[in-house]
Symmetry: D2
Subunit: 383 residues, 4 copies
């Protein structure tokens, strides 16, 4: 192979660390790219965990201090898969060191951090991508194409939800490696940054900028044991969040997320209603796209359930996988994201969504939190 090695330094070893590592491990088997990711180093504060993770995924070395990792000349790309409260510090250092950066979402704890990070990364001029992986689910990508092709006409509505049920039990702790998402200090917010950030990213990608929001949040369980302190502590995150909004194009948005919707594991859905067509999608069956075309003959109009599994290369990404009818899963969204990032780097073009784009999502998330606190409509700042 005459591929150019791209040496990866991975920081973090949790759920996202695994999902990203898998992408590095398999991308070249399915996508022919100029760059070949090399799993150079994995970093975690706990040496044993770092070594176990490295062994499992084939990283050549380990670090226990992310600064050391960034200092290494043999690292080309820094992948940030740590809790949200560490994103800024790592990203700033990596940018300063001239590394390419792949950062998990949400970009930061809040807008202030996100602005600093965006400024720094743009000044550094390094390749950067924020991991809103769902954009790269083929059905979601194809929806974007359909929208860009002008098939919807004027858009009236966008609605999206991300419903889970894993924190209903009061026995679930906050903080620690497994449940830092419930600790406001580590996560910044609850469902807003964790789940709605995905909804918002897809929404603005599909339908343009959100200009005003009005939100309500609720914390159903007020106190939880903290995994680190071992003590009951107040819960600072939003367990649930609902907001409606206006998009710049005149359409209305309706968003809802919760971890208290019994029966839903990861029901991430969105739907867009245009004058001429509507499109809908559901993460639970991510290989299908629902499409309604008002241009179809009257008596035969109906929602089409499109099994997005290759039609001679017309459906995005799918000609790289198996044969028609055979589904891919969640993991492949990260492979596509990486394949695109590698391609962009080789071609020297900017990737999307970059830090600035993620900053825009952060503006919406912050406006949502702020509106929920004030009970007022909040204008969204523009990145």
């Amino acid at each position: 192979m005459s591929k150019k090695p791209l040496n990866v330094g991975m920081i973090g070893y949790g759920f996202m660390g695994r999902a990203h590592s898998n992408a590095y491990h398999v991308v070249s088997q399915f996508f022919d790219r100029e760059y070949q990711p090399v799993l150079k180093a994995a970093c975690a504060r706990n040496k044993e965990k770092a070594e176990a993770f490295a062994a499992q995924w084939g990283y050549e070395s380990v670090e226990t201090d992310w600064r050391a990792l960034i200092d290494r000349d043999d690292i080309h790309l820094v992948d940030i898969c740590t809790p949200n409260n560490t994103h800024m510090e790592i990203a700033l250092a990596a940018a300063k060191a001239g590394k390419a950066i792949l950062c998990e979402k949400p970009l930061a704890l809040n807008v202030e951090q996100a602005e600093i990070m965006t400024k720094a990364i743009e000044e550094a001029g390094v390749p950067n991508l924020v991991s809103f992986n769902y954009r790269r689910v083929p059905a979601v990508t194809m929806a974007k194409q359909l929208i860009d092709e002008g098939r919807l006409g004027k858009v009236f509505h966008y609605r999206s939800q991300f419903l889970q049920d894993w924190t209903i039990s009061t026995d679930v702790p906050q903080g620690g490696a497994a449940t830092w998402r419930l600790d406001v200090n580590a996560a910044g917010s609850g469902v807003t940054g964790d789940l709605l950030a995905h909804c918002i990213d897809s929404a603005m990608w599909h339908n343009g900028v959100i200009t005003q929001v009005n939100a309500i949040t609720e914390t159903f369980v007020k106190e939880r044991m903290h995994a680190e302190s071992g003590k009951m502590e107040p819960v600072g995150i939003d367990d649930a969040c609902i907001f409606h909004c206006r998009f710049e194009n005149g359409s209305l948005g309706n968003f809802e997320s919760t971890r208290y919707a019994r029966g839903h594991k990861a029901l991430y859905t969105w739907e867009i209603n245009g004058e001429n067509a509507s499109i809908a999608w559901d993460l639970h069956d991510l290989h299908r796209l629902s499409y309604f075309d008002h241009g179809d003959e009257g008596k035969l109009r109906g929602w089409r359930s499109i099994h997005v599994s290759d039609h001679g290369g017309e459906q995005p990404y799918m000609d790289h996988w198996w044969v028609p009818g055979l589904a891919i899963g969640y993991a492949e969204s990260f492979v596509h994201q990486l394949a695109d990032f590698l391609d962009d780097m080789a071609k020297g073009v900017k990737s999307q969504p970059d830090f600035r784009n993620a900053l825009q999502t952060q503006y919406v998330c912050d406006a949502v939190i702020q509106s929920a606190k004030s009970g007022q409509w909040v204008d969204v700042k523009k990145a």
Copy 2:
């Protein structure tokens, strides 16, 4: 109203007696026909039951002997909703008396009876219709239109099933008013005449004549208490029946019916696969039609779920009911059947499916039973 009265004499008071009576009761409210059905007389051997039924449905009089009913000059239409073993005798008498006849399916106990009945009714020249009501579910009717419009191209496959689970318990008796369908003497056959007859009727309406069949049947519960004798008696009906077949147009058929499919109450489905399009339907959600059009743009091909609930009169029957999105149910199929029958009578044209058409279905049912016994392919006679 200047409508012409059509005096109905109903024989039978069971499930079908109710479904037909409802159709007579409401048809003029939804369909403007020259004939106005008048519920003139209801007939049952048991006088109390006849009177209760007449009171509930508004029949003006009762009879306890169907011969007396047929003898009445004020009866124009005889509706036969009795068990299968009485159809022939009643139909022959009604034909002889020059009455119009609406007969429940299956037409008869067997081919011999059906042939006699068909001959008699054609000689009498009376209006006649056999109640294969599912043809008049709007989605099923629309499928027929699509096929007739040539949208499918060459047909390769037709498959249909009718699955129920109500006789799994060995405590269900055979015979008597409620369970005569399990008594071979009253019913002639089991699922073949009761359920597959519907599948076969729709299949041949949609896809032409079946020429050869190969079947297997099974009786899972060998003995059941007889409701009349109070004794355990051998079960003579087929509890389940599967057959494959050839249609005259070269396509293959696959049919299955059972009353032992746990979880299915009345899962009557059919699907037809043509070169250019496929269509499918399911009685459990009878207001929807599934349609796949290979002519759709490649990447956007998918099965459409068409909610058949009016589109400016383009979907059959639906402009007579409510507004788009609001479903009709099972009962309306009988209303449509009646509306069509009334229309045909007013215009003096033959209705479908008539006795001859039902005879053809009987030929297939008999060939199926015969094949199951012999283990051989059986050619289907042509009506």
Copy 3:
């Protein structure tokens, strides 16, 4: 029959006039009630239309002035199926005349009217029911039973939507017999009173009182031809409305309605998420209830699709219809509503939802409209 006649005076002859008339026409065939509705008189300003309607549905007489109808001694029940702006005047007169009243929803143009009407009817002490017919869809009724049985535990979320697409075309006029729902003078509001009123009624029936709301509305088409004036006039109704809210029990609500959701004819859905179970429903397939029971064995948990079509009388209303697996449709919800109303009248108990209950829904609708105007949270008054 020893049934007591209940003479009905119907005012209005549109979509709802038909749906109610059908219920009067068939209720006794399926439900054994002490009262037998008699279609005594139909009233419409236009004599020809009144007569045609009376002929079609079997009303014995016609009136062209609703006051004359109410004055008649032989009318026991006044059924108000006219546009919203006439409800108050008719209801007040009917109450004064001591008639039982069945009134279409929404109760009134606004809260002021609704309060006057409620006061009057309660002082008159006449039987009264507001036609939120969807409560009587068996699946919806069964959901209420499950909730009352305590199966959900603490409720966290309620969400509901009512999406249509019939007014997207700018050619649709406002005002007149067919499109008065787009004329704010006749309708009072747009989707809020027409569609969300249903959502709100079901929501409060299932989940208790809504205490605070925050809403957004939009009118996408600003001007439409008025069917009466023949001139382009500003559109005063809300084309779309989204609101979130708090229920008294601590749960959050999310509601959305529009007539601009391409592909949806009458997608009325609701879902309730409790600690132990969740329930969901969809009008497009109204015979099914979705149910998730967290008490099910872990690996086998899943949403159940319950075909609500009789299980030995355990499912509400269904033992009055056909056999398991055979669906009923939209029309039957009005039959059930009437059967219950007749039963209540015979027993001398109050029906639900009565005027007071509908007043509570009106309070929510008005708070929604008010919030959309002010951009502020609005507390809901309590009836």
Copy 4:
């Protein structure tokens, strides 16, 4: 790592070669096994293709003669992913050489070959597995567990179908690398060996041995261009096949497969109906299992749609992947198959389905073909 290397020699580089290679590439990242597959050598007659394939998947070396590959001492496992007509020769040589063998299905061109292969492999005593990968889809595996736990009671019915539509066009050639499945000399049969073999394997795994079959086959396109000869040649395979059968446990089977079902890419479904419960599955949404439990409370009975995506390790394989709600795809079935095979080899236990088990499926396939030719019921030989 202290893992034991298992050196793989892959023969073939097509669709299955890719699917197997991917499994070797990723299995250790998700499953902790004693053996670590090492991609030692890839073999194809065409050297360029072999080298390209090896480069893409990371094979250390290439061979152009499979005999040379088998002769190598550093190969521990021979993986046979070639067209069906070469399976026997390769398997016999590999067995003789004492290699472990993973062989694609169907095992052989016919029963005669399969018997020879089974005898040889059992005499050689080498680990062997036939790649009926769908057994390792978690939903399918869980179904097997439910059946083994006795949840179904007496089984009445098993039905399965595998419907595709990719050969409807008469322009599709037969023979050659891409379309050898249409050439009877390379494939042995058409849909029977290619698709029904999967259905039959799952069926007998779930429901025991099939004892008698009655089949019909059809070849819709009689002549196709041969990719090697460049000439129109008669088509020798079955384009479609339907059969019904009896299982040893007294239940009835109904099977259908075709490549002429417009709209279906790979609609592989099965359903089993027992006295107490029914289970169904569909490859198009392979992460879901449908389950009906008659033991559920009467009014709440319904088919559950179980999203098989981990519940604390209770659902097979899923605790090795992501988090609840996130689906895996087709490729993972091969990873599971390999993980199990590695585990079995480490523990020295026999894997399933082995050659003998696949021989039993071959007996059914041959009986099906034979019955289709003779029109007679055919008894299935027992392996």
